[in-house]
Symmetry: C2
Subunit: 369 residues, 2 copies
């Protein structure tokens, strides 16, 4: 046991972050971070971090915040998943630009009473995802929060000048594709909310799932479909490889991530590109189990999937003449489904086509609505 575990905590009682203290918390992070690559010239522990840039690339940088009570609820989201999701949100932004992620900064606002074990789990969750994508944690900030737990992650990546993907750039006639399955994370969120922390604790990130399923066999207390949906919500897999393949093959005319849902992504991309869109509702890829479940709740599976956020898939567009390139991209991203979901139009309206009839595409999630 480390000395810091004992600071101020009575014997037998789990320490809180307030008892451990700011300096010891930073040391707990530092002890968990693997030796940085040589391009990190100054890492955790100085006034700022120093990074050698990658030759002939531009810096790509983004910041994303998770706020307790708005983006997650510790009653059913394990701290490990909070750390994972905070980094995933920023990495997903880099993926949408076609950037290769390199480094991250972690800024935490911690309620006094947060158990130090939860703090450790949060950091472990972030670092596990960082390891998968070769991201170095190079710095950050720790402050008290008089209210919610706050997790703000800044991610830095690199991209070649002529291979940067943007929201703007799509043209009328370009076709739209989306990766993965839509709505699973929204269903997973509701499953976690209904089943609580104990069930969520049993759900692992994507890379653990096969192993878990095998280990549990028929003993699995949760239906496999919902464990998968919960994992999509708790441990989203940012589509770094897809973004990079799209950039490298110069396949896409525009790209955006689905952090606020597919409907929002279509609106954002169309608006930035100055075009309209028709989404083909029948083509939107929704997992069968998720579709059945939404129906059982009396909800429209398509609208639920379009407007539910947290999927962290990519929406991208390409001219129809590029569709051969799409096959190369598909090979490079392994089994990740890439589904054609619509077309961009000169008509500036953003429409949803269902059963041959067009109506306005619903808006996506925004804060303060």
């Amino acid at each position: 046991m480390k000395e810091s575990d004992l600071e101020g905590a009575p014997p037998g009682v789990a320490a809180t972050v307030a008892q451990v203290g700011e300096r010891a918390l930073i040391e707990r992070i530092r002890a968990r971070v693997p030796a940085p690559p040589d391009w990190v010239r100054v890492g955790i522990g100085d006034d700022a971090a120093v990074v050698a840039p990658e030759r002939n690339t531009f810096d790509v940088v983004t910041t994303d915040a998770l706020v307790e009570g708005v983006h997650f609820d510790l009653a059913f989201v394990p701290p490990r998943a909070v750390g994972h999701r905070a980094l995933a949100a920023s990495l997903s932004d880099l993926a949408a630009m076609g950037a290769r992620p390199r480094a991250a900064l972690l800024s935490l606002g911690l309620p006094d009473a947060l158990p130090a074990g939860d703090f450790d789990a949060l950091v472990d969750g972030l670092l596990a995802l960082a390891a998968v994508h070769g991201v170095a944690l190079i710095g950050g900030n720790i402050a008290r929060s008089p209210g919610p737990l706050l997790v703000d992650v800044t991610a830095l990546g690199s991209a070649q000048e002529r291979r940067i993907l943007q929201r703007a750039g799509a043209r009328p006639g370009d076709v739209m594709f989306v990766s993965g399955r839509i709505g699973s994370a929204a269903a997973g969120l509701e499953w976690c909310r209904a089943h609580g922390a104990v069930a969520a604790q049993a759900v692992g990130p994507e890379q653990d799932r096969v192993r878990e399923r095998t280990a549990n066999g028929g003993q699995d207390p949760a239906p496999a479909a919902f464990r998968a949906a919960a994992a999509r919500f708790l441990y989203p897999d940012p589509r770094i490889r897809l973004g990079w393949a799209l950039a490298r093959n110069r396949a896409a005319s525009a790209c955006v991530d689905l952090s606020d849902g597919l409907a929002d992504a279509v609106h954002q991309l169309a608006s930035a590109s100055g075009v309209g869109a028709i989404v083909d509702g029948d083509a939107v890829p929704i997992a069968d189990d998720v579709r059945v479940w939404f129906e059982a709740q009396g909800r429209d599976p398509l609208v639920s999937a379009l407007t539910g956020g947290e999927d962290y898939e990519l929406l991208f567009t390409m001219p129809t003449r590029h569709q051969r390139v799409l096959q190369a991209v598909a090979r490079q991203v392994g089994g990740l489904p890439l589904t054609r979901v619509g077309v961009l139009t000169r008509d500036p309206r953003v429409m949803l086509r269902r059963d041959g009839r067009d109506g306005p595409l619903p808006p996506g999630f925004t804060h303060f609505r």
Copy 2:
């Protein structure tokens, strides 16, 4: 008046950020940001920002958070000062590394009821300081906060490899210098707390102060000394020019900023460098008015100045043979005082010498104490 001002707000009632909505808030920021320099390839409004690196330099990056109720109280800190201070804290970190600031990302957590005018003022305060230092606001994030107002700023700068200043690097025998006057911000904080928002609203940043003093003449309702101290607290001036001069002249063996007070800075620098220190209490530069005021409160001016944070000055060390270089540095930073405040020692203890007697230097401010 913009359309967004009217969204949901009854006539004659000032809109809140919740009524304005996330998208319109982003537009309000975008409308305030001047045209970015050409090295910003993608700015506000995409999934991430893209920046062309400066030739032959390294990226220097830092993040700092201000949390309402911990770092500031809106009862006596105007929103404009919150925006200024949030950027100043990150720029001060870059100054301590000898870096030239280039760009910033702003991540906000906003309570529903925050008046939209306060949001605008916060952004204006940040952008005014950004303009002084040639910093481009290139992106960020807006989220709801169910609790305090949260302001997280990531700053990016550049520095040449061999001119980076670090906390580590000081050697026994090196002398310590501090910039500016210590304790003014702590006194200013207490003055603002006692006099409230109306008085604080009348205090401007450093560049406005001369004009204000002239304009007010003898009519000034607040003693000039305390208006100056309040300005040091509300509108700290990050020592970018000093950090850059120290780096360019290769004058300093180590450097750290004083965000958590001089005592903390000495502890941090000594610990990172693996040395001890003796601070000469009689040499610590405290403004006369501030000293008198601390004494009138029955407090030890030296201890108050050493342990009060928020000064955002720099502490740096240099070998005694470099002291000629110090004169060049002093010329390059104009009238900013640079005061010798002690020496580093082989003995690992960190001591304060007062009236010829040595005792332990008090610890600085840390969160959760």
